[in-house]
């Protein structure tokens, strides 16, 4: 009897220690394997707590309260005024990022980061029978929304796609296993998959040597030009619009930034806001 009790106490003690210790070990492992993301996640978590009251204003919209959070405003009217500018954006982006082109004949292997689509396609919830003619016939640029609550990040089983602390939803092409769960999860159809070696669709003499080509079997998408922003440049698409201000890119958390000024002055909409993804791309239509 006595012996059994001693054994019970031993086991109970060890399990308690294990129970108390495990979270710490797991925490350490998480931050060890991916320090940036873990730190960012912590910052976000703490910041959110502090800013809870502020965040409940409006419709419970949440923002990352500290640090940068990049966003974009696309002025559809300016693209209507300047036909051809949207294509220039697409070309600039796809050239800078070595996005392959397999041609119309092989549309199923298509990869695109930013492209034109109909207004009703981009904004099915804002569409109705009697749209004004301009919108009806003109197209809208769409790209990854870099959501605040990205469903693709939630779905990814390997953390190959993740949200940076600056709000950019990025990809680790070397970790992606190509399960395409993120493509099913994205409500905006922003993700593409390398169905074949992307170099089959690239002119190897015209590669941008500053940016890697991908390998087949991984998912890719717009990265908000994280590489260019790091060097203090504008995203390639915004650059391609010249001084027209058709695309304004900037820090949503900086109250004095140009993008905040535009958002304050103009009425903007987001794609499929009802899904609670909180896109970082806004449209003036």
């Amino acid at each position: 009897m006595d012996k059994k009790r001693r054994e019970f106490l031993k086991i109970a003690g060890i399990s308690t220690l294990a129970g108390l210790g495990a979270p710490a070990v797991v925490d350490r492992m998480v931050s060890g394997s991916f320090p940036l993301a873990a730190k960012a996640a912590q910052e976000v978590a703490h910041g959110e707590k502090a800013n809870d009251q502020a965040a409940t204003e409006g419709h419970g919209e949440k923002t990352v309260p500290t640090g940068k959070r990049y966003g974009m405003v696309i002025d559809v009217r300016k693209f209507i005024e300047n036909p051809g500018m949207a294509d220039a954006c697409t070309n600039a982006c796809h050239t800078v990022h070595n996005v392959p082109d397999f041609g119309e004949a092989n549309k199923k292997d298509e990869i695109k980061w930013i492209w034109l689509t109909g207004y009703g396609n981009a904004f099915p919830d804002h569409s109705h029978y009697y749209k004004d003619e301009e919108l009806e016939k003109n197209k809208v640029l769409v790209l990854c929304n870099h959501c605040d609550e990205p469903p693709c990040v939630r779905a990814c089983p390997t953390k190959a796609t993740f949200k940076n602390k600056d709000g950019i939803v990025a990809m680790d092409y070397h970790r992606c296993i190509g399960c395409r769960f993120c493509m099913a999860a994205c409500p905006y159809g922003s993700r593409s998959f390398n169905w074949q070696d992307p170099r089959n669709g690239l002119d190897m003499n015209k590669l941008n040597r500053e940016f890697p080509t991908r390998m087949r079997g991984v998912v890719e998408k717009c990265n908000f030009c994280a590489d260019r922003i790091g060097k203090g440049e504008q995203p390639a698409c915004a650059d391609a619009c010249g001084s027209s201000k058709a695309i304004v890119f900037g820090d949503l958390n900086d109250p004095n930034s140009e993008i905040r000024k535009v958002l304050k002055e103009k009425y903007t909409i987001q794609r499929k806001p009802a899904l609670g993804t909180h896109p970082s791309v806004f449209y003036i239509v």
Partner: protein, 389 residues
């Protein structure tokens, strides 16, 4: 016990050789896909999951269906299922092996599959699906093998095994629930975004799994002198009929919600599946024949299983069971996954046509599953015969 799989009559070897041929062809096709990439398939940017994932989804159900034998036998001590419970457990093993093969065939970077373990992500349903599928596979191998060994030695199974047997019951439910959660938690895919997906998956699983077991046991009666027993078959028939009806009820509820609410997003995919969807003057209706096939086969199957005359006749009974299995395969193994991508998030319609290479790989995985199933059933029945002799 494996030696029992090495002794068989000519039919046994011809059947294995037949399956082996398709497995070899499929292996060559897979090498092509491995070297070129998933562009060898008909999948696209818009329909990013195809035959592989749809077969996987259906087969998870077949694996879970075995629990309809395990549960009555072990929990309710329903002795009649004593002879066929092992068939349920071994079917689960074969089905899960197919599931894992389909997942591997679908990965763009299969050599990185272990990243799921290396970078565990509890927020992703795929992570949990991997855990429960492998867990259920392990449990079925363990329980099936230990219990069969005990039977061979004509002793009672060791007590500790019952812990794993009971554990396998919630695992069976969980594999199909988690597989449903792969789909029903995705915003923007209206057809999948429905709380009834998991119950519906389970209902169709509890029909498809037992239907296959019933069908196979009728074949075993002819070719292997193995009789499941009249009472066991009757009870299987009851289980199958109720499960098919519950599944049909759930499908009709989906129709009610979609069409009564009249919300376009909730209707589009159902329209596409059953009637064809018009878009810019073109009617897209690739999957319509499959879905009506599902309806007709399920009604036929239930009728054959329910009418006393046909139920007593092994031929009609077998036809009924296989119609239900095929019908549910059309629903979940073809319609459910493929249609979820229609319309696309950008309100376009892209249809999917599997390529020959992809179809051959799919057939090969099925053949591998039936190969494993044949060998396992051969062992199980040889043990039963040995005990009886």
């Amino acid at each position: 016990m494996f030696e029992k799989a090495l002794k068989g009559n000519n039919y046994y070897w011809i059947w294995l050789a037949f399956l082996g041929t398709f497995m070899a062809i499929g292996a060559l096709c897979y090498i092509r896909q491995f070297n070129y990439g998933l562009g060898m398939t008909g999948m696209s940017r818009d329909v990013s999951w195809g035959l592989y994932i749809s077969q996987f989804t259906f087969l998870v159900g077949v694996a879970a269906g075995g629990v309809m034998l395990v549960l009555p036998y072990y929990i309710h001590n329903y002795k009649v299922f004593g002879r066929i419970t092992i068939l349920g457990e071994f079917l689960a093993i074969a089905a899960l092996i197919m599931c894992l093969m389909f997942i591997m065939a679908d990965l763009g970077q299969p050599l990185r599959a272990l990243n799921v373990l290396l970078h565990p992500t509890p927020g992703s349903m795929l992570f949990w699906d991997m855990l429960v599928l492998n867990g259920y596979l392990f449990l079925n191998i363990l329980c099936g093998w230990v219990i069969l060994t005990a039977e061979r030695k004509q002793v009672k199974p060791p007590k500790w095994i019952y812990f794993f047997v009971y554990l396998s019951i919630p695992f069976a439910i969980s594999i199909h629930t988690v597989t449903a959660m792969l789909y029903c938690g995705l915003p923007g895919r209206h057809f999948w975004l429905s709380a009834i997906i998991a119950p519906r998956f389970l209902a169709s699983a509890f029909a498809a799994g037992p239907a296959l077991i019933l069908f196979v046991s009728l074949i075993l009666k002819r070719v292997a002198n193995f009789d499941a027993g009249k009472e066991a078959k009757d009870k299987l028939v009851t289980i199958i009929i109720y499960a098919v009806i519950v599944n049909a009820f759930f499908v009709m509820l989906e129709f009610f919600v979609g069409f009564y609410s009249n919300i376009p997003g909730h209707k589009h995919t159902l329209q596409y599946l059953f009637f064809g969807l018009e878009h810019h003057g073109v009617v897209y209706n690739n999957l319509v024949p499959y879905m009506w096939g599902f309806v007709v086969l399920c009604i036929t199957g239930v009728t054959l299983l329910a009418i006393p005359y046909t139920k007593r006749n092994d031929l009609w009974l077998g036809l009924g069971a296989i119609s239900i299995f095929l019908g549910l395969w059309l629903d979940k193994g073809i319609g459910f996954v493929l249609a979820g991508f229609v319309p696309t998030p950008l309100e376009e319609i892209v249809e999917y046509y599997p390529t020959l290479n992809e179809i051959m790989i799919t057939i090969a995985v099925w053949c591998t599953g039936f190969f494993v199933l044949t060998v396992l059933y051969k062992i199980a029945i040889a043990v039963e015969h040995e005990v009886e002799a």
